[in-house]
């Protein structure tokens, strides 16, 4: 399966980025082939507002089935859900750790946003 992890850069040992909408970058991981590629989040990073939904649209278009991040707000969560992408939060340490934690069932799959929006 294909996963996206929010991270500082695209590498297995890169630290995860706890922010979703304003994540420094997205790392696309194929858990079967163990291949790793980068999807830059520059459009959402530069957005004056709506970073969460724009980042969510990017993730939905990437073909990933799930995203692993630190936290996810209400608008991003609703966009990801509409696109059929599962959201896992509580990512820690590195990209490799996040993938291992998911595979070991140590990450929580959200059924609603875990933080409030910035523009409630």
């Amino acid at each position: 399966m294909k996963l996206i992890i929010t991270a500082h850069h695209a590498a297995w040992d890169a630290p995860v980025d706890a922010r979703f909408g304003r994540a420094r970058t997205f790392v696309l991981v194929d858990t079967c082939s163990r291949e790793l590629s980068e999807i830059p989040n520059s459009q959402a990073l530069d957005a004056a507002q709506g970073a969460g939904v724009q980042a969510a649209a990017l993730v939905c278009r990437s073909g990933a089935e799930a995203v692993i991040t630190g936290h996810c707000g209400p608008k991003a969560f609703s966009a990801l859900t509409a696109g059929g992408v599962k959201v896992y939060t509580g990512a820690q340490n590195t990209v490799a750790d996040a993938v291992a934690d998911l595979e070991a069932g140590r990450l929580q799959c959200l059924d609603q946003a875990d933080v409030a929006g910035h523009w409630v």
Partner: protein, 285 residues
Amino acid sequence: MIVAVASGKGGTGKTTVALSLALAVEGPVHLLDCDVEEPNCHLFLGGEVVSREEVALPIPRLRAHACTACGLCGQICQFGGIIVLPTGAHVFPTLCHACGACVHLCPEGALEETPRRIGELVETRHDHITMVGGRLDVGQTLSPPLVRAVRARADGARLQIVDAPPGTSCPVVAAVRGADVVILVTEPTPFGLNDLELAVEMVGRLGIPHGVIINRAGAGDDRVQRFCDRRGIPVVLEIPQDRRIAEAYARGLPVVTAFPEMRPAFRDLFARLTALTGLAPSPEH
């Protein structure tokens, strides 16, 4: 004549000045409370409510069956207000700026504009003053359209005094744009000067003549005066630092009501402001 009262820093006395100008003038005047996130002019004037009007923005609504997920609407939106997933478009109303581009572009006619309330206008009468105040609803963040609605309500009125929000961002620009003259109210402190410099830059870019009122004069130092001298900006009035003015304000009394001896100073202000605009003086004011 449209006189906008603005400031970079909050709490410098915009409302004090706007109210006092409106109260000091003889003829009919429109007082426009454009600080729609925290309107307060009505607390000082009271008066009778003559009308209330809802202000709404045209927000796109999706007819899901008509959407082909072509993506045009999501590409044109600069605000993340609408995104397109493989399953179709999704609208986020609180991010939408109601520009209408997505509705205009949709080749399938799948988006239609529906009104979404953001606040209301309240018009009150108090002797010679017609006051229009905007009130942004709790939870709304997009205030400039409401500010413009307040301004539009007084369109054509001969004398308008605009109480602008603090700062130098979009709501302030919406409040002061089109004014004949802007009064920048400041205080003689480092904070007052820093934010005055930003406000001067803003009105300069808008190309509006402006003058400065130094409130609480004597409380700080002369750095604001020196800045104005250096930049050739007229200081049109100084309101002295006086605890009694603050006490009256805290009881809901504008300065010219509590201290009628200040009234001529505010009336004279109109002559100075008119000179700044280059407009012909009006016999009424």
